[in-house]
Symmetry: C3
Subunit: 287 residues, 3 copies
């Protein structure tokens, strides 16, 4: 298992290289927050390209190692274009980040999620209930320890999905990021809790979507765990800093984008986070 | 007919409950302003979920009592998905809010408007010319008093649609909200004029769309008339306050979202508005 | 060839009339920046209407002399709707502005670009590599002087596309605008270099798209060259002013929209720019 110090060094390297190289990570993402996703990726140093059609997304594959797939605002064409795209990226050893937003709703989304299981994502980003739902859909949890019985309405939502996230990460051999009051990120071995953020975050649409997009950007220059922690840390840091100068969700959004841009790699690495073993505390319920 | 005092009490209750309960009101809305609609709904206390597909919108029906339908940026799939969705919501006793933006343009939009007449909307939100056009399309106005002869270019546009709005509200048995320099809202009995707003509003795309979305959010916790007045009042209040601290449409948008968030239920109820009888002033031309 | 003074007078007239008349210029544009395009058009005095479907775009043709076509986020329906729309506008003597963003990627985009060559755009807006790619696709450059050999990664990108832009403008009999650190605009006779802008511009998605949209707005009240220079000048001016009061791309966007609104026609005409002959410097490599 990685140590906290090693992870911080990787974060600095990952965030620095994204700023210096500006690699592109294309996205197929929802209409509501597509602008926010692009601007967040640009603010942290990446380049953005948004598409609907698989032939375009595959063309861009020669220019990138990482793509972002978000399942909001589905259109019928996504039923084929997303699995085709993901198959290409996975088959060419590239990373892809999945945000299963809206899981459980609609035939198109359900069909996509069934198909892409064969090409497991490098990073999954969702809230506790979405991560649990994905694990159930993919049959990853057994009856007994499936986490669902503890409920997605637990006072500490991300911990309600801790076991599921660990199992999901072991299945995908990538990283899983569970968003909540604190964020939980795991690669199946280490569990990281990232702290910070803002009360305004739930009042701005696309905070979760753009966090996934930023994780996909960092995946151009870091491994899945590093990229996911890097994204969670910069969001928690920028959220905390932005709230201090905001009086509502309108000004918060503006300051948040500025703070994504202003955060140095060292700032990102030093945002408060804990690292524990995935197996730790299993018996005594301690995090 | 409701009194001004009763309406103010209902506004306080409606706005308070939206803030405390955060109910979701899904939307099918246009690509231009979909982000603004969601953020405006969140700023006043609601929850947002945007979809294209009727199976998703119908799934969300079990979680909500109110949906927002905006006819901007039509795609061919809307021709079926919107009527199917509206039929479901109407048939299940739920409220729906219609923004007939672009009425008169295009086969898809025309077909939708003809189909949904059978499931009258709880709230219609439009400018004077859109409300007049909808009344003509639905055959609600007779030759004589159709309001069109007075023109949509009257110096006082909302009053040019007053008769049409009253008739439309009597047809839908809901509320009609006519946006203009002042806003006119009617349930067919009372006519409310809400005052405030800003010169910057016409320079920011989506002010009308998001006003409709916010009315749909308030319809989760209030009757159609209360919801429509609540939305008009908070927009007029936030617009006036935001203008005082803005120098252009860019800063105005930011302050406007902040002010939507900062407006208390009491503030919203006390925003200047008049309430008269729908039949008052018909003979003497007084508003 | 027009003189600098004549062009400045035309810019003042074009920008003033847009503010006083608020003519509409419809757009078919991408989902990422559709909101920014509309708000930029409104900020400089235009009116906006965004559509996907050709029957709607053609209906709007009776209300406007200028349309904006941007090839980002292609959907299958664009394959027909864009050529049909462009054919109508061109055939009715109206102007259209093309942003060939993403050129080279995807069957839909390629098919559209082949079809619309028969209806040459009044204004083309792109970066150096996009302008070069469009010239190659349309067979406008001969082997020898095609500009591509000098590379799109030249330290002075816009000049790498100077010859291509001049030839393209002679082919379309309109204006070509090449965006870069400085902007190059030509009608095939005069070459204008417009200066200003900001380091934050590449960090905000949609700066190029909305520049094209604003050029289309100015094309309602000016000839293609005037409209394209007007747009480049107001962008360079607003960008420079906005940067002076911004600390990141979030605040920059807000100030930029405000500065678009605040720029007077005289300010726009007096933004630093050079005007030279298209044939000048061809031999000696001087700009």
């Amino acid at each position: 298992m990685i140590s906290k110090k090693e992870l911080q060094e990787k974060i600095i390297s990952c965030a620095s290289e994204l700023r210096s190289e500006n690699p592109m990570s294309p996205s197929v993402t929802n209409a509501v927050t597509i602008n926010f996703v692009a601007n967040a990726q640009l603010a942290v140093g990446g380049s953005a390209a948004m598409c609907y059609l698989s032939d375009e997304l595959i063309t861009l594959g020669s220019l990138t190692d990482s793509i972002y797939v978000n399942l909001g605002t589905m259109l019928p064409l996504h039923a084929d274009s997303i699995p085709e795209t993901v198959k290409y990226y996975y088959g060419h050893g590239k990373k892809w980040t999945l945000d299963p937003v809206g899981i459980g709703s609609g035939k198109v989304r359900g069909s996509i999620l069934q198909k892409v299981k064969a090409y497991p994502p490098s990073i999954v980003r969702g809230n506790a209930s979405e991560i649990l739902a994905l694990c159930h859909l993919w049959g990853i949890l057994d009856e007994e320890g499936d986490g669902r019985t503890r409920g997605v309405d637990a006072t500490e939502p991300v911990d309600s999905a801790k076991d599921a996230a660990v199992r999901l990460a072991r299945f995908t051999r990538g990283a899983v990021s569970v968003s909540g009051e604190k964020d939980l990120i795991t690669d199946g071995q280490a569990v990281i809790y990232s702290y910070g953020g803002s009360k305004f975050m739930p009042m701005v649409t696309g905070m979760g979507c753009s966090l996934g997009g930023v994780a996909a950007a960092y995946a151009c220059t870091g491994d899945p765990l590093t990229a996911a922690v890097c994204a969670a840390n910069v969001y928690n840091l920028a959220g905390k800093r932005a709230e201090a100068e905001s009086r509502g969700p309108g000004s918060f959004y503006v300051h948040f984008i500025d703070q994504l841009y202003l955060a140095s790699p060292k700032d990102i690495a030093e945002n408060p986070f804990d690292l524990v073993s995935a197996d730790e505390g299993k018996a005594d319920g301690k995090e």
